[in-house]
Each structure stands twice: as C-alpha cells, then as structure tokens.
C-alpha cells in the first residue's frame, strides 16, 4: 500500500513547468528519482514538503492530504537536502540539541550510530565541513528520528565512493526495517546498486515510474546498462 502519493502535481515558473507529476512510494522499498540537472527533481521534492506551493495536484502522506497536517507528517518524514549549510557558524552539537526537541521519536542511539558511521565531529561547525561532510550532516539529522519515509535530495552528491557505498548500505538496512526511501540522483550506478523502483523525470514530466526490473524490461535494449538506457531515453526526449 502506498504511504506517499503524488498525483497530477503541477508547478509553473516563467521558464520551467512541472507537469502532471504522479507516482507513489511504498513501505520497505527504495525509489530512485532520476533526471538530469534542471529536470524538476528538487521542485518535486520541495512540493512534497510544502516548501514550494504547487499550482495543482495532490500530495498525500499516510493516506491523507499533506495540507493541514504538516507538523504531524514531518514528524514521520526525514528530509535531507544535499550540501546546503545550516547555521554555518554554530556547532553541530548545538544545532542537534535544538532539532531533537522537535521530534517525539528522536532516537539518540541511532544519532550516535550515524555520527560514528559518518565520522562527524560534533564540536565542528558546518562551515568547517567539506561538501561531502555537509551532506552527511544533513543525512544525520534526517536519519535520527525514526522516520518512516526518507526523502533525500541528491544524498550521494559530493560523497567519496566509500561513503557512497556505506550510505547505500544504510538505505538497504532501513528498507529491511520497513522504511520507504526516496532519493533523487543523477548517478545511475546508485540506482543499479540499491533501487527497487525508478521514477524518471525529464523536462518537468515523469517519463517512467515503475519497478526497476520492469523499467529494464520495457525500455532497455539488448546489452544496454541502465545508464545507457536512460541516456538513450533522454536523447530521445531532447530530439522529440
């Protein structure tokens, strides 16, 4: 059963339009949201979190619309946005001491575990962190309150190959615990390694939203890797 449903989402900007974006996320599945830069991934994700005000469409979490239930829904959702630096001059431990107060289900044990896994030093400030470590700090906040859904905007961006592998292993572990993981990326190898489902977006429109095996069966040609398939589809959209 879907725990997140995005239906007919529409957002118009002067030079870009997100059109009729629809997909669903299920418990215990990892969904990769792939598309090139500027395809509409971040706008979609921000709309899902009510950071961007859509011009149309519906978004529901846990079977009910997001509107009017933001606080309750965000308690159960973990969100991370790439390399954005929050409060660059405050110590990580000071930021966390405030954030934890907001969550009924803050998991101190999980926080310590991920702090250790990501090799983050609590006494550092975000401005002292490299781009990759900033991503890890944002992930740390998303992973430490027992979220049932993780919505992650380019979580592997800027990570070294070892950290990338560790993070994808974390996704797999969370999936076993029944967490739905939804992450945007433009790196196809991330999808190959851990995704169960693929949502492919191009020029503001969803071109495919289905299990990875079905995606390959429907779109891949003989001998093609997932990357080759997506590149070919993208070229086709551009030439259309």
């Amino acid at each position: 059963m879907a725990i997140v449903e995005v239906s007919g989402l529409r957002k118009e900007y002067p030079s870009f339009t997100l059109r009729d974006v629809s997909f669903a996320l299920e418990r215990g599945r990892i969904t990769g949201f792939i598309g090139r830069n500027g395809a509409g991934k971040t706008t979609t994700i921000k709309s899902m979190l009510n950071l961007v005000h859509p011009d149309g469409g519906e978004i529901s979490f846990f079977g009910a619309p997001l509107a009017g239930r933001e606080g309750e829904v965000k308690q159960r959702v973990g969100y991370s946005t790439g390399t954005v630096s929050w409060y660059p001059r405050k110590k990580i431990k000071d930021i966390v001491s405030i954030v934890r107060q907001f969550y009924d289900s803050w998991d101190e044990e999980a926080y310590r575990r991920y702090l250790d896994l990501f090799d983050l030093d609590e006494s550092k400030t975000p401005r002292e962190l490299s781009a990759g470590m900033k991503v890890k700090f944002n992930l740390l906040l998303a992973l430490s309150h027992g979220a049932e859904i993780l919505i992650l905007d380019e979580p592997t961006s800027g990570l070294d190959p070892f950290s990338r592998d560790e993070l994808l292993a974390v996704f797999t572990e969370l999936k076993r615990e029944g967490v739905a993981v939804f992450f945007s990326t433009h790196v196809t190898s991330d999808l190959e390694k851990c995704a169960d489902d693929i949502v492919y977006i191009s020029h503001g429109q969803i071109r495919a939203a289905l299990p990875k095996a079905d995606f390959t069966a429907r779109y891949a040609q003989a001998g093609e890797s997932l990357e080759d398939t997506i590149l070919r589809l993208e070229r086709g959209v551009q030439n259309a």
Binding site: L49, N50, E70, G71, Y79, V84, K90, F102
Partner: protein, 217 residues
C-alpha cells in the same frame, strides 16, 4: 511553541539583537531624542534577520515538524521578546526619571522630549510599526528585507520628528509632563501606545502567515 522560540533564541538570533537591547537605556540620555533608542533596538533585529538569512534559517525552520505559520509565529515571538526586554529598560529609566530624578536640572532644562510615559508610548508605536512594515514586508518573500527596512526608517524618523515637535505646539505642552504631573493623561497615552502596538503586530502577524503560506522557498 517553546521549541520554535528556543530555536530562534539559540540558532537564528545574532548576538547583536541581544546587545542592542541595551539601547533602551538611551531613555536616560538628556539632550538626545530618546526615541532613537527604540530605533536602534530595531536595527539590532534587522541585523539578526540578515544573520539568519545567511544561515538558511527560514528553510531550515520550514523543514522542522511544525506548520508553516509556526515559523512566522517564532519570528514574531522572538521580535516581541527583544522589544519587550528593551521596553523594560526604558520603563526603568522612565520610572527613575519620574521619581528620584524628577527634579534633576539636566532633565528639567532638556529642550528635547522628556522620557515619560508618553515617550514609552512612542517607543511602543515604533515597535508596532517595525512589526507591521518590516516583519510583514519580510514575509512577502522571506528573503528581501532591505526595502521594508528602508520604508520603516523613513516612517520612523518622520514619527520621531513629529513626536519631538509635539510639545512645542501651543496647548500640547502636557505631553512633556515631568514626574507625576498630568499622570492620568500620561497613562492614557501609554495605554493608547500599547493598544497601537498590539493592533499593528496582530495585523502584521495575520498578513505574514497568509503571505508565507503562498511563497516558494
């Protein structure tokens, strides 16, 4: 609600916002337009909003498990708290100038406005206008703050000029009363100032909630 205020105080606020509360003590200065003290308090708040913007504070707050209007509420609570602290300092100065220092020559010969209850009402009006013009204007974009602050500066200095000039107009000398002279009038003016502050802040808060709900972060 306590959590969002704690976040404002510990993460979002610039140390300058706290330091500039002390400008409330300008109510002790003779021969100086005391209401400028209230303006300097708002200058500290403006600096604090800039500091918060550099820290991506609004987007961070909107991602916390709170409704979007709680982000607005947190900002208003923080601003009102800082204003309230400076008003307390001003009140101390006013009470001392009404009692122990009532006959101090340095205040009696002051050509400028006396720091009495009417001056306190003026400070409340300045804070109310800051909340209306700056805070309300900021939440149109949750980013641009230069234009609303410039509009506020123009309005506030016209207001300070008008309030300073008031007691020089024949028949209005009473607004500059010393000690407990014309206490009833002074108290009434203070209550009007308080009512203006509350109305302006409430109007601004409602507009800010409405605007913030619609903008894209």
């Amino acid at each position: 609600m306590r959590d969002i205020l704690r976040k404002e105080l510990k993460l979002s606020a610039s140390p300058l916002a706290y330091f500039f509360i002390l400008f409330g003590l300008m109510f002790f200065l003779p021969g100086y337009p005391v209401l400028c003290g209230a303006f300097f308090v708002t200058l500290g708040l403006y600096q604090s909003f800039q500091y918060a913007r550099e820290a991506n504070d609004i987007e961070f707050s909107a991602l916390l498990p709170v409704a979007k209007q709680d982000v607005v509420k947190g900002k208003f609570m923080f601003v009102c708290l800082i204003e309230g602290c400076s008003l307390l300092l001003m009140l101390v100065a006013v009470l001392l100038r009404m009692t122990l220092l009532a006959d101090a020559p340095v205040y009696r010969t002051n050509a400028l406005m006396n720091a009495n209850l009417f001056a306190l009402a003026g400070a409340l009006l300045i804070f109310g206008l800051f909340n209306l013009i700056f805070l309300g204007g900021f939440f149109k974009t949750a980013y641009n703050m230069g234009r609303p602050f410039i509009v506020f500066i123009i309005v506030v200095f016209l207001l300070i000029f008008a309030l300073e000039a008031l007691h020089h107009i024949p028949g209005l000398e009473a607004v500059n009363a010393f000690g407990f002279d014309r206490f009833g009038l002074q108290l009434a003016l203070l209550l009007i100032g308080l009512a203006a502050f509350l109305v302006l802040t409430l109007l601004s808060y409602r507009a800010a909630c409405r605007r913030f709900e619609k903008i894209d972060l």
